[in-house]
C-alpha cells in the first residue's frame, strides 16, 4: 500500500486503490493505453459507453478543438455489450486496475438487457450508467428528468449486486434533483459530469464544424469551473460518493475537485493530450500527501478550520 493511503471506498465492494480514474470514452477499454502507460497503477478505468448492439458512431468530423477544450460527437461508437462481456471482460480480470463498464442506452430495456448480459461475465468491478450522452437520439432523456432517471436506476438496481454508479448530465436545470433521484433509487455513487452541449462555427464555410445539428459535447479545461460547481451542488444534495470529472489536467485540478466535495476523480480529455496525464495526477497527489505528511487522502483536502481568512490583503 502506498503511503499516504489514497484508497477510496465507493461502497458495495468498489474500493479504488486511489482516487484517479480514467473517464469513459477517453480510454477505450484500456487496451490501447495499456501499451502506452502503466495502467495498473491507476484507481479505475471507466470504459467507453457500451450499448446493447454494436454502434458505428457518427459521421466525421467527430472532434473539433475550441479554446481550452474540445467538442466531440462520437455517437457511442462501440463494439456492443456481448463483445465486451465475452472478449474484453476476461482480459479485465487479469488486470489489477478496477474496470467499471460504462453502459448507455436509448430505453430502459436497452440498459437492463446490457446489465443482464454483463451480469453473466466476470472481470469488472461495477457499472457506470451513462444517462447523459448528448450524442445519440433520446440519449439525454434519462439524464434530463429526475423521475425518468430514478425509474431507470431503480430497475437497474434490481438487476445487479455490483456497484452502480450513475453519470450525471450537466445540461440540466437542476443537477442536484437528478442526483437525489438516483440516490433514492439505489445508486451507489454518482459521477459528475458528462460533457456540455457546445458548438464551433467555421467562419470560412459559414456553418458549424460538426455535422448534423452542429453540436457536440464540450470537454477539457474549459469546463472545469462549471463542473466544479456541479460537483459541489451534487455533493450538497446526496450522501453517496461523488466522482468528479471535467477538465482535470493535473494534480492541482484534482485537488480542487476533492475540495469541492468529490471522493474520487476521472481524467478525460487530458489523456488525449498526454497519455500519462492520469498517472501524473496520481503522482502529484502522492507527492502532495507526502509533503503535507498526511496519512489519508481526506486530510489533503478537508476544509481548513476557518475558511474565512485575513481579508483582502496586500498579503506580502
Amino acid at each position: 500500500m502506498n503511503f499516504p493511503d489514497l484508497s477510496v471506498d465507493l461502497g458495495r465492494g468498489l474500493i479504488l486503490p486511489n482516487p484517479v480514474g480514467l473517464a469513459s470514452g477517453t480510454a477505450g477499454y484500456g487496451f490501447e493505453l495499456r501499451q502506452l502507460i502503466d495502467l495498473d497503477r491507476l484507481g479505475a478505468l471507466f470504459t467507453k459507453g457500451t450499448t446493447l448492439h454494436p454502434r458505428e458512431g457518427n459521421p466525421p468530423p467527430r472532434v473539433a478543438e475550441v479554446r481550452g477544450g474540445m467538442l466531440n460527437a462520437i455517437g457511442l461508437h462501440n463494439p456492443g455489450v456481448d463483445h465486451v462481456a465475452s472478449t474484453y471482460a476476461p482480459e479485465f480480470s487479469r488486470w489489477s486496475i478496477p474496470v467499471v463498464v460504462n453502459v448507455a442506452g436509448g430505453s430502459v430495456e436497452d440498459y437492463l438487457e446490457c446489465l443482464d448480459r454483463l451480469e453473466r461475465a466476470e472481470g469488472f468491478a461495477g457499472y457506470e450508467l451513462n444517462i447523459s450522452c448528448p450524442n445519440i437520439a433520446n440519449g439525454l432523456d434519462f439524464g434530463r428528468d429526475p423521475a425518468a432517471a430514478g425509474r431507470l436506476v431503480a430497475a437497474a438496481r434490481a438487476r445487479t449486486g455490483r456497484h452502480l454508479m450513475v453519470k450525471l448530465s450537466p445540461n440540466v436545470t437542476d443537477i442536484a434533483a437528478v442526483a437525489r433521484a438516483v440516490e433514492e433509487a439505489g445508486a451507489d455513487s454518482v459521477s459528475a459530469v458528462n460533457t456540455y452541449v457546445g458548438m464551433k462555427i467555421h467562419r470560412g464555410i459559414r456553418a458549424p464544424v460538426l455535422p448534423g445539428r452542429g453540436t457536440g459535447g464540450l470537454s477539457g479545461p474549459v469546463i472545469k469551473p462549471l463542473a466544479l460547481a456541479a460537483v459541489a451542488q451534487v455533493r450538497a444534495a446526496v450522501r453517496i460518493p461523488v466522482v468528479g470529472v471535467g477538465g482535470i489536467m493535473d494534480a492541482d485540478d484534482a485537488l480542487e475537485y476533492l475540495i469541492a466535495g468529490a471522493d474520487a476523480i476521472q481524467v478525460g480529455t487530458a489523456t488525449f493530450v498526454n497519455p500519462a496525464a492520469a498517472l501524473e495526477v496520481l503522482d502529484g497527489l502522492l507527492t502532495a500527501g507526502e509533503r503535507a505528511g498526511v496519512s489519508r487522502l481526506e486530510e489533503l483536502h478537508h476544509p481548513t478550520p476557518s475558511s474565512s481568512g485575513d481579508g483582502l490583503a496586500l498579503s506580502r
Binding site: G25, T26, A27, G28, E32, L33, Q35, L36, K48, E56, G57, N58, P59, P60, P61, R62, V63, A64, E65, R67, G68, G69, M70, N72, I74, H77, H202, G204, I205, A207, V209, P211, G220, P221, V222, M249, T269, T271, F272, V273, N274, P275, A276
Partner: protein, 281 residues
Amino acid sequence: MIRPLSDLGRARDETGEVVAVEALEGGMVEITARLPRLATTARPGEFAQLRAWAGVDPLLRRPFSVAWTAGELCSFVLEAVGAGTRLLVALRPGDPLQALGPLGNGFHLDPVPARAVIVSGGLGCAPFPLLVRELRQGGCADVTVLSGAATASRLYPAERFRRGDDAVRVVEATDDGSQGRRGLVTELVAGACEETAAVYACGPNPMLAALAEALRHLAPPPERAEVSLEAPMGCGFGTCLGCALPAAGGEWFLCCRRGPVMEVSQVDWPGLLALPPAHVA
C-alpha cells in the same frame, strides 16, 4: 485484405530538442529534432503527435508524418495553417519538442515492390522522403515520384525526395505550368504506373480520389495502391474514436489506427469527398 490495427507497442512519449528549422520555398518548413526513440523506430507513413507549447490553447497535439530519420534525428515537414502549426514553425534550435509516436499504420513494404510510383500533392510530400529511402534500401530499383502543386514555389524540392539518391526519378507538375508539366499530377499517373507493382500517394482528398479513379482504368492495376489520409484527431492512439473516415462498404475506419495509410480499394471515395470540411484553410 483488411489492414491490421497499428502496433502501439513501439509508441513512446518523448521530449526531444529541436536541432534545425529550415524554411523551404512557399511556406513549407522542415523541423529536425533529436528524438532517438522515434527516429529509430518510425517506419514510412507513420506519424507522431507533436506538441511544442505549454498551457491549454492549443489543447490537443497535432499529427505529423515522420518525413525523415537520421541516427537520433527525426524530421517533419509542415506549414503554418492554424494555431498549432504556427507555434511549430516558430520553433528555434534548442527548443523542446514533445513527440508521441510512432503512431498509425505506415505504408506496406513487405514485400518491397520492384517498381514504385509515389504521388505527392503539395504538403502530401511529408511521408515520402522516408518511404523513398526504405524502398530503395529494400531493393526497389525503380522509384518514381510524381510531385504536384498549384505553382512552382509550392512544389516540395525534388532533391528532398531524393536526399542524395540520384536513381530516384522526380517528375513535377504544376496547375499553372510554372514548373514541370502544366496540369494535375494525377494526369501523369496513367503514363507512369504501367507495370508498377506499388503506388503510394498523399495529398488533398480530391487529388487522391482522382488517383483512385485513374487507377481503376489501369490494366493491369498495380498490386498495391495505398493512400495516406487525414482526419481531425483527438488522441492519435485509438481511444477517442474521433478520427473516423468512411470505409468502402459503408462503415468507418479510425484514421489513427487502421490508417492513416489505406488501400485505395478500402476507402469510400464519394463518402470522403462529401465530408463537411473540418479543416478548411
